[in-house]
């Protein structure tokens, strides 16, 4: 590598954290021109206790997956010359990493004692031979992946000023048991847990802003009713059981209201209710189908789907139902809008044979297709707005995927069993 670019990157690395923290927003760390920062993940070292191939494998795998999806980095394998060394400054030589073109280096070491494991992580700026971040986590071995995800979030916070959502969970619907039940998994597809076991049809999960509760529609009492479930206790309450449809529930950003579709007054309209199902307020009133409400992050507006002009299109209204305007004007069948956490984009699905995911500005500009292969539905933002989860049929069946907000890095995360759809990314816990 040329000396001048080395110096530039070193400068950039030195400046970036402070630069980014000084301004709100989502700037990503990239070097100038075409050079992308190269991040390497060293093999986890044993610092004490027993050897554990699984700790080594899982730690490296999680960091590799997270940093690859993260976006700002090219993830490189450790150079052969750099193996078998310590993880702290002074215990290893930066030179082999530097000559391999590595800008950022993640080192980790573990101590296993019975079921407990302690993992120490360090992030280095290779060109400056400087430590940027050091953290130590301890817990049970079953917490190991979470520890590594947490350090990934630490890395992203350190380098971009904003935590990534890699410790988050994804709730989704799967028919792998023969019925459509709700499941929960790590955002990378690990640690799958079945939530509902009511053997009916369960649809449309949506996390409360705290992440402690989930609302969903279930046929468990012979009608599509809206339920609220506490994730920690499993306790469920039926919050809306009006005659007809109680579906596509969406929690307001302040957690006080739920927007949903009810058909109690004759056909599907958008309403809001309190979190306990009281104080019903009607927002739409026409003979067309109105479904799939999605709040703007400030809670002032709601995007929704209506076929009032003949075919389903995405509209936006004020949260009191006034000021309806049409958002999507291209394509003849546009559904499933979701507002980005920053408020600057709305993702939705367009039917073009199968479905493809698009993103559009709330003023209707910059309408961009994000997916191309298979049928892709149910896009939902990660809480930091940098990633999107969705379902796709591209590999046969239907699986949950994640991608960056610009459509790059599309990666399947759910196993191939059954049809897996309606993913939704948890807030930070």
């Amino acid at each position: 590598m040329k000396r001048s670019s080395c110096i530039f990157i070193a400068l950039a690395l030195m400046l970036i954290p402070s630069l980014l923290r000084s301004q709100e927003g989502y700037r990503e760390v990239t070097a100038s021109g075409t050079h992308q920062l190269t991040l390497a993940i060293d093999v986890p070292r044993r610092l004490g206790g027993n050897d554990s191939a699984q700790v080594i494998r899982d730690t490296a795998e999680v960091l590799q997956f997270d940093m690859t999806l993260a976006g700002p980095f090219t993830v490189a394998a450790p150079p052969a010359a750099a193996t078998a060394s310590g993880i702290r400054t002074g215990e290893f030589d930066f030179a082999p990493w530097r000559s391999a073109g590595v800008d950022l280096l993640v080192k980790s070491g573990y101590t296993v004692s019975g079921d407990n494991v302690t993992v120490e992580f360090r992030l280095y700026n290779v060109n400056q031979a400087r430590e940027l971040l050091a953290k130590r986590y301890s817990g049970r071995q079953s917490d190991l992946r979470r520890m590594a995800h947490t350090f990934s979030d630490d890395i992203m916070e350190n380098l971009t000023g904003q935590r990534s959502p890699f410790t988050g969970k994804i709730a989704f619907v799967s028919n792998r048991t023969g019925n459509k039940e709700l499941f929960l998994m790590d955002y990378d597809g690990h640690n799958v847990q079945q939530l509902t076991k009511n053997r009916s049809i369960n649809l449309n999960p949506d996390f409360s802003p705290t992440g402690r509760e989930i609302i969903f529609t279930s046929y468990r009492q012979k009608n599509p009713d809206l339920y609220r479930r506490e994730l920690f206790t499993g306790a469920e309450a039926r919050v809306s059981s009006q005659k007809g449809i109680n579906a596509t529930g969406s929690w307001s950003p302040d957690g006080k209201r739920i927007a949903l579709t009810l058909s109690k007054d004759g056909n599907s309209e958008i309403y809001t209710i309190s979190r306990d199902g009281r104080d019903t307020q009607r927002l739409t009133n026409n003979s067309a189908i109105d479904v799939s409400p999605a709040w703007s992050p400030d809670g002032r507006q709601i995007a929704f789907v209506s076929d009032r002009l003949g075919k389903p299109q995405v509209f936006i209204m004020n949260a009191d139902g006034s000021g309806v305007r049409r958002l999507t004007t291209s394509g003849s069948y546009n559904v499933s809008p979701r507002w980005s956490p920053k408020g600057d984009r709305i993702v939705y699905c367009r039917q073009e044979g199968g479905f493809q995911i698009y993103a559009i500005n709330p003023d209707g500009s910059n309408d961009t297709r994000l997916t191309t292969s298979g049928s892709n539905e149910h896009p939902r933002w990660a809480p930091d707005g940098r990633f999107i989860t969705f379902s796709s049929t591209r590999d046969g069946g239907e699986s949950v995927y994640v991608m960056r907000a610009d459509g790059s890095g599309q990666t399947r995360i759910s196993e191939g069993k059954g049809k897996n759809s309606h993913p939704t990314w948890s807030p930070r816990w």
Partner: protein
């Protein structure tokens, strides 16, 4: 299931602890002082026992999952002489064929089974959005109900449910399968 619930709760509670400050320690950047790391953790990590009360409590508080509701397969359980009607894509308009079928169904309900109640199930094919299809299925069921009522069937005898695209008659992905799935079923519910 208990084990799974316990595991889940344990995972969540431990995860919370891990995510919180309790188990996380900032290690000082070690330009000169690698000792900051080599010393044992100053704050003892919270014992795992701390999470167990939550987990134990949870098991006792999970009445919902222990009583699964077995959904009866209504369509199969109650065979009748009532015939299905079918629809075009993204439409709930009754075709002439559907009207003729509904006339026969009305006659059956009025003359052969004047005492029974009937549930109309609206269904859609898989091509539309499942969220939108839930509403479309209901519109189909309502169109069928309204026509039955004009033919003299009492509205009180008719209930509606939409399954959207959740219960296809034909699991295939062909035009023929889709045409079969865009339908209203008539189920005697007594």
């Amino acid at each position: 299931m208990r084990t799974a619930t316990l595991g889940f709760v344990a995972l969540l509670s431990l995860g919370l602890v891990t995510a919180g400050c309790a188990k996380k320690e900032m290690v000082k950047p070690d330009d000169s002082s690698a000792s900051a790391v080599t010393t044992p953790p100053p704050a003892p990590t919270p014992p795992p026992a701390k999470t167990e009360p939550i987990a134990t409590q949870t098991i006792t508080q999970a009445p919902v999952t222990t009583a699964p509701v077995q959904e009866t397969a209504t369509t199969e359980a109650a065979p009748t002489l009532l015939e299905r009607i079918f629809f075009d894509f993204d439409a709930f308009v009754l075709s002439q064929t559907a009207r003729d079928t509904l006339s026969r169904n009305a006659e059956y309900l009025l003359k052969k089974q004047p005492g029974v109640k009937v549930q109309l199930e609206g269904h859609c094919d898989e091509r539309g959005s499942d969220e939108y299809n839930l509403s479309l299925g209901e519109k189909r069921a309502k169109a069928a109900r309204d026509y039955l009522v004009t033919l003299g069937v009492q509205a009180e005898r008719i209930s509606l449910i939409s399954y959207g695209e959740e219960k296809p008659l034909d699991p295939g992905h062909t035009d023929e399968a889709w045409a079969k799935n865009r339908r209203v079923e008539f189920v005697i519910v007594k």
